[in-house]
């Protein structure tokens, strides 16, 4: 019997229409169809979802943890970028 490792997939679920898909975890599955099925069975058992995306984990390109000073530190003193100075009308809904 040939034992190949089962590929890993990142799972994103959309809780309600209008909300973005959010990363919620990962599943092992041999292919995309089975990954959607596994994601449904593992992550939507309590009515959390109206839509599922799965992406091969190998397709995710991540930032280098060693770069975090140059990538993220410079924003620390730029509080004017936070949209806390605006009133958002209720009608706008999810932002």
């Amino acid at each position: 019997m040939s034992e190949k490792p089962i590929p890993l997939w990142e799972v994103f679920i959309r809780a309600r229409s209008g909300l973005p898909h959010r990363h919620c975890g990962s599943v092992h599955a041999p292919d995309a169809t089975m990954a959607v099925q596994a994601a449904r069975d593992v992550y939507t058992r309590r009515g959390e979802s109206v839509s599922i995306w799965v992406v091969p984990s190998s397709a995710i390109v991540a930032s280098d943890p060693n770069d975090k000073d140059q990538l993220f530190e410079p924003t620390a003193d730029k509080i004017y970028r936070h949209p806390t100075f605006y009133d958002i009308p209720d009608e706008v809904g999810h932002m």
């Binding site: 599943v27 169809t33 099925q37 593992v42």
Partner: protein, 253 residues
């Protein structure tokens, strides 16, 4: 009480028994499935079926009118009083056996509940309308697995062929209707099982085709008697399933 209504209690019990017994068999996979993902998936399927059984038993208890609850019907009847088919009580075997059984069962039950959703009995129609969505997923889940097992490694293919050979004869009982159920079918309360055979055939042929598996040549008929309470493996399963409720009668959970 009309002739049709006199037969409806045992009919509803049989629907509940198939669901409960297969649901319990699936629950026995818990912590034993090949992967964590599939372990959860099998528990989900089990809970769908046990949920269906609860609805059927609750309805049956009302129809009977003697105050029996879903728990009374599930935990305080002996094997001879159960009328599930023999296929659902077979011990689980390997993963291929379970997936093939799920496919054979769901490919029948999905169109069956579609038809039952138009029953003239509103209580049955309501349960069926809920269950039909669950069974649509059961067909899909089992089909995807059978396709991959049949078209997978030599070993997975061998095991799937063996499971198909073992389970094929048991399919006949899914299509059986005794005189009482035929009466219900004439009254448009129960579907005519035989009319669903083309749909069952189409599903099975599509999945076996994609899996690269040959459809067994013999007709799908064989062991029978489950509907009449003649069981093979059920008593042993019930001894385990019912032991807790019987040790603590009246307990609530």
């Amino acid at each position: 009480m009309t002739e049709a209504h006199r037969h409806i209690f045992p009919y509803v019990i049989a629907l509940g028994d198939d669901a409960l017994v297969l649901g319990h068999r699936l629950s026995q996979w818990s912590s034993r499935a090949p992967t964590l993902e599939e372990d959860i998936a099998l528990s989900n399927l089990a809970l769908d079926l046990i949920g269906q059984a609860r609805l059927f038993y609750t309805l049956a208890g009302k129809l009977e009118g003697e105050g029996r609850s879903e728990d009374d019907l599930a935990y305080f009847r002996d094997a001879a009083a159960f009328s599930n088919t023999l296929m659902v009580e077979l011990p689980n075997g390997d993963f291929a056996h379970t997936m093939v059984r799920q496919l054979l069962y769901a490919a029948f039950t999905h169109p069956y509940f579609e038809a039952l959703a138009t029953s003239r009995h509103p209580g049955l129609a309501e349960i069926a309308a809920k269950a039909v969505k669950e069974m649509a997923y059961h067909v899909r889940h089992a089909a995807e697995w059978v396709i991959r097992l049949g078209d997978g490694t030599d070993e997975s293919r061998q095991r799937t062929v063996a499971a198909l050979d073992t389970l094929w004869p048991y399919v006949g009982e899914l299509f059986e209707m005794d005189a009482a159920e035929q009466e219900l079918a004439r009254a448009s309360i129960a579907p005519d099982r035989e009319q669903l055979r083309p749909i069952w055939n189409a599903t099975i042929d599509r999945v076996l085709g994609e899996a690269g598996l040959d459809r067994p040549e013999r007709p799908p008929t064989g062991p029978t008697g489950g509907r009449a309470g003649k069981h093979v493996h059920l008593a042993e399963m019930l001894a385990d399933m019912q032991s807790f409720a019987r040790a603590h009668p009246g307990a609530a959970w």
